[in-house]
C-alpha cells in the first residue's frame, strides 16, 4: 500500500507503458499498407482510419458521457458536405489544401453540434436518445429538400486532386490518401485520449454515473453534456471530411441516414464502450463486416444482428471488456488453463455456425434466387436447397455443434469461476500483508 501512496503524486500522463503502446499504434498505422498491398486492403485500411476517429468520437458521448445518440451521422455527414463544398470551391479561387480539408469538416461538425446540440443536450437518458433520433431524421429529410446543397439523390462529387502538388504529394494515389487519414487518425486518437484526462473529461464520466450528484458539486450537467457534444461533433466532422477525400462523393441518403448513425452505435458497442480503445476494435469490425461479410453473404445483416444480440446478452462491455478480462487473468498467470477451453469453444462454435449458416443460406437462396433453381453453392459445395437431405444434414450439424459447445461451455464456466475465486483469494492475501 505504501508504494501506492508514493505513486499517487508521481503519476505522469506519459509513462513508459503508454509511450510503448502509442508507438506501436503509430507503427501499425505506418506499416499496415506495406504488409497488405492489395487495393482492397488499402481501401479497407483507409476506411478503418477515419472510422476509428468517428467511433471514438461517438464513444465520447456513449461510453464517457452516457449519451445514447442515434444521430451521430448528422455531424459526420454535415462535416462531409461542408468539406466537399470546400473542395469544390478550389476551382473558384478559394483554395484550401486537401490536407486541411478534414479540419474544415471538423469545424463544420463542431458548428452543427453547437447548434443542434443546444437542443439535444438539454435532456439526458431516454429523452436525449429520442431527440437525437428526431434531429437525425430531420437533417436526413432536409437533404432531399435542399438539392442545391446536398445534391439530391445523386449527391455531390468532387476531385481531390487540385492545386499544386507539394513534394510529389497530390493526394491522387490512394496510398497518399491513406497516410493523410492515418496521420489524422493518430492525432485525433491521441487528442481524444488526452481529453479523458482533463477536468471536463472526468466530470463527463461523473455526469454519466450520476448526473444528479454532479449538480450538487457545482457543475451544470447540461453544460458538461453540451461541451462534450461539441467536441465529439468536431472529431465526427474530421472523420466525415476524411471520408469525403477518400470517396470523392457524398450523398445525403447514405452519409446522413439514421441507419449510418445506428451503425456507429452498433459497432462502438461491439468494440466496447467501457474502454477507450474499444471503438478502435469496433471500427475495424465495421469495415470488415461491411466490406467482406457483405460480399460473402446476402444475409450479412442478419448475422450482424445475431452477433449484436449475443454481445448485448453475454458481453455488454464489448470485445474490449473480453480482452481486458483475459489480460487480467494473464497478469495473475492463470490464462493457460483456459486456452484449451477457448480452442474447444471456437471449434464447436464454428460447427454451430456452420449448421445455422447453411440453413440461413438455403432459406435465402429459396426466397431470393428461386429463379436460379434449387442448386446453390455453399462453401464450395453444391447443395440442393429443396432436398430434405440437405436440411436434415444441416440440422444434424447444428444439433451436434450445439451439444458439443454446451459441454465445452460448462467446463469453461466451472474453470472460469474456480480461477476467479483463486484470484480473489490471492488479492485478499496480498492486501492482508
Amino acid at each position: 500500500m505504501s508504494s501506492n501512496n508514493i505513486q499517487s503524486y508521481g503519476f505522469k500522463p506519459l509513462n513508459l507503458g503508454r509511450i510503448v503502446i502509442w508507438a506501436l499504434f503509430a507503427l501499425a498505422l505506418i506499416v499496415a499498407p506495406l504488409l497488405f498491398k492489395s487495393s482492397l486492403a488499402l481501401t479497407m485500411l483507409s476506411q478503418i482510419g477515419y472510422l476509428i476517429i468517428i467511433c471514438l468520437s461517438y464513444n465520447m458521448l456513449l461510453g464517457q458521457g452516457g449519451m445514447l445518440s442515434f444521430g451521430h451521422a448528422v455531424y459526420t455527414g454535415l462535416g462531409s458536405f461542408i468539406a466537399i463544398h470546400a473542395m469544390n470551391m478550389a476551382g473558384k479561387g478559394m483554395s484550401i489544401p486537401v490536407s486541411l480539408i478534414p479540419i474544415v469538416g471538423g469545424l463544420a461538425g463542431m458548428g452543427f453540434a453547437a447548434l443542434l446540440g443546444w437542443v439535444t443536450t438539454k435532456k439526458s437518458g431516454t429523452t436525449f436518445a429520442m431527440i437525437t433520433m428526431g434531429v437525425g431524421e430531420l437533417v436526413a429529410s432536409m437533404a432531399l429538400m435542399l438539392p442545391d446543397f446536398f445534391g439530391g439523390e445523386g449527391g455531390i462529387t468532387t476531385n481531390r486532386v487540385y492545386g499544386q502538388s507539394f513534394m510529389g504529394i497530390s493526394f491522387g494515389p490512394q496510398i497518399q490518401v491513406y497516410y493523410l487519414i492515418a496521420f489524422y487518425c493518430f492525432v485525433c486518437t491521441a487528442a481524444m485520449f488526452a481529453f479523458t484526462g482533463t477536468p471536463l473529461g472526468r466530470i463527463l464520466n461523473a455526469v454519466r454515473d450520476n448526473p444528479e450528484r454532479v449538480e450538487f458539486i457545482g457543475y451544470n450537467t447540461q453544460r458538461v453534456r453540451y461541451f462534450a457534444f461539441i467536441i465529439a461533433g468536431f472529431f465526427a466532422g474530421v472523420g466525415g471530411g476524411l471520408a469525403t477525400i477518400n470517396f470523392e462523393i457524398v450523398t445525403g441518403a447514405d452519409s446522413l441516414s439514421v441507419i449510418r448513425s445506428g451503425g456507429y452505435l452498433l459497432f462502438t458497442f461491439l468494440g466496447g464502450a467501457t474502454f477507450f480503445f474499444g471503438p478502435i476494435i469496433g471500427a475495424v469490425l465495421l469495415v470488415f463486416a461491411s466490406v467482406l461479410l457483405s460480399e460473402l453473404s446476402k444475409a450479412w445483416l442478419l448475422y450482424l444482428g445475431l452477433v449484436f444480440l449475443f454481445m448485448v446478452m453475454y458481453a455488454p462491455g464489448g470485445i474490449a471488456s473480453l480482452v481486458m478480462l483475459n489480460v487480467r487473468l494473464a497478469r495473475f498467470g492463470r490464462l493457460k488453463p483456459l486456452l484449451s477451453c477457448y480452442l474447444g469453444m471456437a471449434l464447436t462454435g464454428s460447427v454451430v455456425v456452420l449448421g445455422a449458416a447453411s440453413m440461413i443460406e438455403m432459406l435465402y437462396h429459396l426466397q431470393l434466387n428461386a429463379a436460379l433453381g434449387p442448386e446453390m453453392e455453399f462453401l464450395h459445395l453444391r447443395v440442393n436447397a429443396e432436398a430434405t437431405a440437405s436440411w436434415l444434414c444441416a440440422v444434424a450439424v447444428l444439433a451436434v455443434g450445439l451439444g458439443l459447445f454446451e459441454l465445452v461451455r460448462r467446463r469453461f464456466v466451472a474453470r472460469w469461476h474456480h480461477i476467479q475465486e483463486e484470484i480473489e483469494k490471492e488479492i485478499k492475501r496480498t492486501e492482508a500483508h
Partner: protein, 260 residues
C-alpha cells in the same frame, strides 16, 4: 466567503406545495455561522423536503431561502453550491464507476476554479490532487484510493459521500440522515468523523437517532407538518411542551411499543 449577514442560513416563511397538498407550510429558521443544527421530526414532517428546498433540488412555492445574506431560492443546485452550500443525500449518492480518489477530485474541481476546462491535464492540477488526497485521509479511505466506489462497503460509501460533500469547501453543510442504516459502533465512529471534518462550518443534519442528535447538535429544530415548531438548545427543546406532545411523545410511544 464574506459574512455579510449575521446568519449563515435563513428561511423566511418558506412554503412548498406539490399539487394541492402543502408539504412545507411557512417554515422559519435562522441559523448562525458555525452553528450545528439537527433537524428532527416525525416521518413525513417535511425534513427532507426542507433540505431539497434549501439545496435547490426543488424551487419553493413562496418564501425565501437566504444564504450568507443572499437570496438563493429558485436557483439551480449548482448555483447554490457555488455560493457555498453543499449537501449529502439520504440514499448514497456517489459516482459508482469512478475510484474513491476520482470521486473526491470531482468534488473539489469547481471550487478550485477549473470549471469546464479541457485544456489542462488532471494529473497536473496539484492543488486539486493534494486536496483530494487530504480529503481521502480525513475520511479514512486512503487505503482504498483506487477502489471503485461501487465496490466499497456501505459505511465506506457513506464516508465517501461526506467527503464529496465537504470537498468543495462550502461553509454551510447539509447532511441528510448521514448515519442511516449504520450499526451502533459505526454510527459512533461516523459522528466523530463528521465532527472532525465540519469544524468551523455551519452544519445542518436530518437525524432520527436521538443519541446522535443530542451528541452532535448545538441546537435542535423540530419540524412538524411542514413548520418549525421549536428551535433551541437540546435541553430547552427536550423541555418544550409542544415538542413533547408533537414529537418526542410519539418516539417514546414507539420505543415502548418496541420499535427503535
Amino acid at each position: 466567503m464574506t459574512a455579510t449577514s449575521e446568519y449563515a442560513l435563513e428561511l423566511n416563511d418558506l412554503r412548498k406545495s406539490f399539487g394541492r397538498s402543502e408539504i412545507i407550510r411557512g417554515a422559519n429558521l435562522k441559523v448562525a455561522h458555525g452553528e450545528r443544527v439537527a433537524i428532527i421530526g416525525p416521518n413525513g414532517a417535511g425534513k427532507s423536503t426542507l433540505f431539497n428546498l434549501i439545496s435547490g433540488r426543488f424551487a419553493p412555492t413562496s418564501g425565501d431561502v437566504v444564504l450568507n445574506g443572499q437570496r438563493i431560492n429558485g436557483l439551480p443546485p449548482y448555483e447554490i453550491n457555488r455560493r457555498g452550500l453543499s449537501r449529502s443525500f439520504q440514499i448514497t449518492n456517489i459516482f459508482p464507476k469512478l475510484s474513491v480518489f476520482e470521486n473526491l477530485r470531482c468534488g473539489v474541481l469547481w471550487s478550485l476554479g477549473y470549471k469546464y476546462t479541457f485544456l489542462r491535464f488532471l494529473s497536473g492540477l496539484h492543488d486539486a490532487n493534494e486536496r483530494a488526497e487530504e480529503l481521502m485521509r480525513q475520511i479514512h479511505l486512503d487505503k482504498k484510493r483506487d477502489v471503485l466506489a461501487m465496490n466499497l462497503t456501505y459505511a465506506e460509501q457513506r464516508a465517501l459521500e461526506i467527503g464529496i460533500t465537504i470537498g468543495g469547501g462550502a461553509n454551510v453543510i447539509l447532511l441528510d440522515e448521514p448515519t442511516a442504516g449504520m450499526s451502533r459502533s459505526e454510527t459512533k465512529r461516523f459522528i466523530s468523523l463528521i465532527r472532525e471534518v465540519t469544524v468551523g462550518k455551519t452544519l445542518l443534519t436530518v437525524e432520527h437517532d436521538m443519541g446522535v442528535v443530542f451528541g452532535l447538535a448545538d441546537k435542535i429544530a423540530v419540524v412538524v407538518y411542514g413548520e418549525v415548531i421549536a428551535f433551541d438548545t437540546p435541553e430547552a427543546v427536550r423541555a418544550n411542551q409542544r415538542v413533547q406532545e408533537a414529537y418526542l411523545g410519539s418516539v417514546v410511544a414507539e420505543n415502548q411499543a418496541g420499535g427503535h
